[in-house]
Symmetry: C2
Amino acid sequence: MPKALHLIARPEGEPKDSDFELRPVESRALNDGEARVAVRYVSVDPAMRIWMTEQKSYWPPVKLGEVMRAGGVGEVIESRNPRLPVGTWVGGMTGVAEELITDGRGLRPFDARTLPDPTWALHVFGATGFTAYFGLKEIGQAKAGETVVVSAAAGAVGSTVVQLAKAWGCRVVGIAGGPEKCAYVKDELGADAVVDYKREQIGKALHETCPEGIDVYFDNVGGEILDAVLKRLKLRARIVVCGGISQYNGSGTPFGPSNYLALISARARMEGFVVIDYLHRGEEAITAMAPLVATGKLKGKIDAMEGIDNFAACLRRLLSGRNFGKQVLRM
Amino acid sequence: MPKALHLIARPEGEPKDSDFELRPVESRALNDGEARVAVRYVSVDPAMRIWMTEQKSYWPPVKLGEVMRAGGVGEVIESRNPRLPVGTWVGGMTGVAEELITDGRGLRPFDARTLPDPTWALHVFGATGFTAYFGLKEIGQAKAGETVVVSAAAGAVGSTVVQLAKAWGCRVVGIAGGPEKCAYVKDELGADAVVDYKREQIGKALHETCPEGIDVYFDNVGGEILDAVLKRLKLRARIVVCGGISQYNGSGTPFGPSNYLALISARARMEGFVVIDYLHRGEEAITAMAPLVATGKLKGKIDAMEGIDNFAACLRRLLSGRNFGKQVLRM
């Protein structure tokens, strides 16, 4: 019997297995206009850690007892909806569930044959890629010749930002943790320089890798890295506030960037954004990124775990930076 | 013999009298093209506290032994420069000095008869007013109907921002310290609501005075007020990072706004600026503000102390918020 994962407790610190409960999915007969979707993959994202709290955010918190919110892709396995014939791939907010019944609203069909793999609809050609593309373009306003620094550069969004910035003619410095990820960012993704935040003193390393300062900082982590970047901004620099993964598991007061007054002398800005505001422009991003994918300039790396009962472990893996590539859970 | 005030030590905490030394001003005969200016007033500004440190800023630090940097206004008392006849009023970076010799560069003549008082060239019709005008217009992008919150609302820049925002049709909430300043902000400047940060819990007070959230925050103080504002931003809010006076005297790590991740869900921005970038557009601001001054919608309040030997005391007064109105020192 297919199952769904329900949030039953608000995690303190790292999410625990016991914060969730597997419950059977309703498997009634379909009504006219409905389709049954077998979810194949769900996207495991840092923002999930925020959705689990009671914190006000761009979406309401997941209520206790509800199916855990997640983006996912799946196949129609039974249908009484002519627009969703059996075999159609769909993507959207499926939740962490093996199966669901839909009238089609909120799910978008896509042609999986045009993708290297269906997971790409969650990665480069999905919300992850759109986050990188619109964040770097609209908020970061990255221009050729500028120095772009990216944190969590081996992560899903970060690795896409590194490659896009390179393709747009920027000088790119990636920040990642550990020699394996750093080598990946430099050798595979093509960053001009890389900083290993686990091994190097971040301020010194930024001084060395960005001797003329930083034009754009795409921030996925917050914390001390953000603070170090603030001290090295070029005039009219832009900080793209995409996430703060270093702060998500903490239960105390998050780390505030004490160097934020540097925004004054640099005439710089920090700006937050949420990809859902750009989903209606997804085609624009896909059109821009497809040729880069075709020519090997934009690669996507998937880190998949198996099984709905591994969701909490998969999320812990992501939040502690043990993943390598876009984290997904295969259902 | 006229004197100038030299910085001889970098203050720790509050600036002390002993951080400065009065030295005689060179009073040689003028060369062709030169004029002697008797400085009448200098502007005492929060940014001075930063110029005294070794901190990188939009201007280099004042070197030890140099005359303390300051904006000022004065009268030409002797001249061998036909463009600066005796009796001309000039404004610019005079430094904290009773007298100076100039070839005219860096000083701008103005017609003191068109001003309520020559100090206005340091206040509403000078760098203070330009800071308020361009900060609110260009960085804050305040629009009619929006809610604008201003900290240090009884201060020089803050009081101008309150009145401009009201004139532009905004709803204005001023934050100030103590009943006298709060009454001034509400009754004299016309703010719709006022918060006494010394008496009220700032988060609760902002919740009550801005029930629908904040569109523009003009920040002169930083610290916990900024953090409280971040929790109450409306969608696409703008934070104008003008100053952080609450942090200037501190010797430890400044307070970082730990709620900055709220910029994400609000799709909001924090942006710094420096008025010197807008000085070339001063006429635009004067043209826009003059009718407001003429109709009594824009008032300037001056808080003057006397005597160059009182400079350090005057600066302490400003940094501790004991001033009431634009702080100047009459020479």
